[in-house]
């Protein structure tokens, strides 16, 4: 792939560009979908292409296609010619030698036969169906993603990367006295670390335990969000607030708060693009900048944001290795220019065992999964969500399932009301997410429930 990128650079220079960057991407996405207790779809998507940024001074044109041709070079250059300069364009990265990131590629996953993926999905489903006679239906999916890319530019940068990941999700419905739902998610960068049966069992157990839910009176409660619920909330309501683009755009509620205390002292959050075994770890970002561990919140203080080169330049700082090319389909996509995105959002564990958090809660709610959590007033961090799996806590014990509740809250306020951080860190990816969240259970006080 690097040879294609380097050839593209040569020909685009001949077309008149003085600076060029070529990104060649190749993604293989295998998805096996389960619905109503059956495997309904088995899909395999192979996508390959090249994106070119051609510069004429500060004028940059971007063009992409599924394969390289002289026409692509000319198209990128003609766009650059047609536009005025952008004074904010700060060139392409200089070559660096990124350090190897451990456990981000597994040959067994890269070579996994599509039929084997279907077999793993069958195992996930079977484990749920066998768990309890009250298990009625199961829906979900198993995904295997292999992403390869090569980047070269006229500064002499020439790098190539390959990563793999497998992840599965199952939502199980149980029927007894009424209906209930439970879900589980598991992901890994290698095949040996992935047990599909575990997903089926965990989802089924939660569904069965969620039968006969009790109504929750509106009011303020101590609420423990388990890792999957923390992931949903932080991906959707925190991720944009630490994104350098949204900070520049002033949509982030953190825009003027760098260096200020924004959360309880015990909260530490990082974007960790080179975390060993991280589902969204890479050796370098999609501009060729090495990935890193970037402090976002340290001891409650707002410590930083994630940047690509463009927005780093606007903020008079350096790229944090978060310039990514993302769309809905998993993988590093050649068809768009880089923008800043979070990679692995890592919330540091605390000292509590999950059970201790529960035992220490007088009258509260335990939320295993929340749903459709969106910042309805993003510049304030106001969000709204509903529970999909929750339990009542009374005098330090889980006393039964809770009916669905709506939470209309404010994240900047909530992170100042954290009263417990557990040790139980798990990786999770919300629906459609382009990042992984590594989160422990968190307890917040005075969460408004309606």
């Amino acid at each position: 792939m690097l040879d294609i990128a380097e050839r593209a650079i040569g020909l685009t220079k001949k077309s008149g560009a003085d600076q060029v960057e070529a990104f060649v991407g190749e993604n293989l996405v295998t998805t096996v979908r389960i619905a109503a207790g059956r495997v309904v779809e088995a899909k395999n998507v192979f996508d390959r292409g090249i994106g070119l940024r051609a510069g004429l001074g500060k004028k940059v044109g971007f063009a992409c296609a599924n394969s390289f041709s002289q026409e692509l070079s000319e198209r990128a250059v003609s766009i650059a010619r047609a536009r005025p300069p952008n004074p904010d364009f700060n060139g392409f990265p200089e070559p660096t030698k990124p350090k190897k990131v451990r456990d981000i590629h597994d040959r067994a996953l890269a070579n996994l036969q599509p039929g084997r993926a279907a077999g793993l999905a069958d195992l996930m489903l079977q484990a749920a169906l066998d768990f309890d006679r009250r298990v009625a239906e199961a829906s979900g999916a198993l995904n295997v993603v292999v992403e390869r890319c090569a980047i070269a530019n006229t500064n002499g940068l020439a790098v190539a990367d390959e990563t793999t990941r497998i992840f599965g999700h199952l939502t199980v419905e149980a029927r007894g006295a009424g209906e209930s739902e439970g879900s589980a998610w598991l992901g890994s960068t290698n095949l040996r670390g992935f047990d599909p049966s575990e997903i089926g069992k965990r989802a089924a157990e939660l569904a069965v335990n969620s039968l006969s839910p009790k109504k929750v009176k509106p009011g303020k409660y101590d609420v423990i969000f388990e890792p999957a619920a923390v992931a949903e909330m932080f991906y959707n309501v925190f991720g944009y607030a630490v994104n350098g683009r949204d900070v520049y755009d002033r949509i982030s509620y953190f825009a003027d708060k760098l260096g200020k205390i924004v959360a309880v002292k015990g909260l530490n959050i990082y974007d960790w693009g080179n975390m060993a075994g991280g589902l969204y770890s890479k050796t370098f970002d999609d501009e060729g900048v090495p990935t890193q561990k970037t402090p976002l919140i340290e001891c409650g203080e707002l410590a930083g944001f994630v940047y690509d080169r463009h927005y780093a330049g606007k903020a008079d700082t350096s790229s944090t290795g978060n310039g990514l090319r993302l769309i809905d389909m998993p993988g590093r996509y050649y068809g768009v220019e880089p923008s800043p995105y979070i990679t692995n959002l890592a919330i540091e564990p605390g000292d509590f065992k999950r059970e201790e958090l529960i035992a220490d809660t007088k009258n509260g709610i335990l939320l295993s999964r929340i749903w459709y959590t969106y910042p309805i007033t993003p510049q304030l961090g106001d969000f709204s969500t509903t529970s999909r799996c929750g339990f009542l806590i009374h005098k330090g014990e889980v006393v039964g399932a809770a009916q669905q509740v709506r939470i209309h809250e404010n994240l900047p306020r909530l992170i100042k009301q954290i009263t417990g951080i557990a040790k139980d860190v798990k990786q999770a990816m919300p629906w459609g997410a382009s990042a992984a969240i590594c989160a422990p259970s968190l307890r917040f006080s005075e969460v408004r429930i309606s």
């Binding site: 088995a42 599924n66 536009r83 910042p375 993003p378 709506r406 408004r448």
Partner: protein
Amino acid sequence: MEIAERAIELAMKLGAKYADVRVENSRNETVLVKDGKVERATSELQHGMGIRVLFGTWGFASATELVKPAVDRVVKTAVSMAKAVKHRAEGKMAGAKVAEARTQAGGKIDPFEVDLSEKINMCLEADRRASVDEHVKRTSATIAAQELKKLFLSSEGARIQSDRMITYAGVFALAKKGDVIEYFDDLAGGAGGFEIVRRFDMPARAEDAGKRAVALASAKAMPKHRLPVVMDQDFVALLAHEIIGHPSEADRVLGREAAWAGKAWWAGMIGRKVGSKLLNAVDDPRVEGALGYYEYDDEGVPARRKQLIREGKLLEHMHSRETAAEFKVEPNGNMRAQSFKYLPLIRMSNTFIEPGEYKPDELFDVKEGVYLKGAKIPSIDSRRYNFQISAKEAFLIRHGDLVGPFRDASIMGIAPEFFSSIDAVGDDFEMRPIPNCGKGDPMQTLHVGNGGPHLRGLAVVAGVG
């Protein structure tokens, strides 16, 4: 055509009960100006093929190489995946008319014939006009166009060539006054050409966005009320999208989207009352110029108008050939995929609440109420039952007069309660573009149209959380 025929032939030879192929060529062009600078000027060309094979379970594979060995490999992959499944689905399809057709939704002015520098200048001018005073801190303007040429072939003999053009224009302004930050955006888009951009009048819209952002930054936050609410067409469009369009998708009704997108609270309620007699809702892919326009879906089924709700009674869902077979009804043409890289899913096309007989002024004839203008961001539960949607602007209605604007308002409601509370529906219908409707795994983002008239009902209006 030859490649697609070869793929179908091979799939059937390998034992598929049914197979179809989509071969696509597309081009996209986007200009984005932000704060007076051209941030993006891009061109994207894509081509490829996706094949779907039925073995009870669907097998699917796609590739961007359209040469014989690659196509054979793709077909074999789709077949091998479906065959490897142990817990196979039944996968019965309702019969559908086998169509041979050529459709074109072009528009009057080809956006790719308009010079790139003209689009850039239009965005620069709009961006400049959005900066109405020193309180405006961020501005942007964008123009985008997409051309898609799609060939659909099926093992039943369908051959449909569908060509269509989509064009967008959008403006944005963000203002800051004291500590209050507010923004306003406006978007036009639909099936058609550059006439959509010209009609939108970007400079005027941008200036209006700037003024409204400043007015909102000067406004008070909306206090909490339970009052009659009057919603404008833009707000009703998102409401129709979230709590009528999505739960009308038959895969949700059957629980097949339970893992992610969710289910539908009105499952099993066809023929029953779900709202007031004034509530009439439709999904119609053939609304000319609307963003969800098409004539054949991605199963080759002719698109048609569906009366989802009539006089408050639930009548019909949106179907694939598979769900139509389960419901024992005719397929009604709602299967769509984002591109050849994806397997089609049941998706809304243009879903809207039909106009009523009230003049818009009559809706404001209440002692006390809230007027919500422009939809912002939704949060809906997994059965589309319990909803919260924020508004761009809100006004208090006092004896027919508007007081405001107020900022940061949203409404909370329970779908059947809200539907039953509808007591006035305006005659001033409008369609709006929604370019980013998400569903599926992997996620597919689709263009849809949504709309409605001014409408009045009862809901809790919430302020800042």
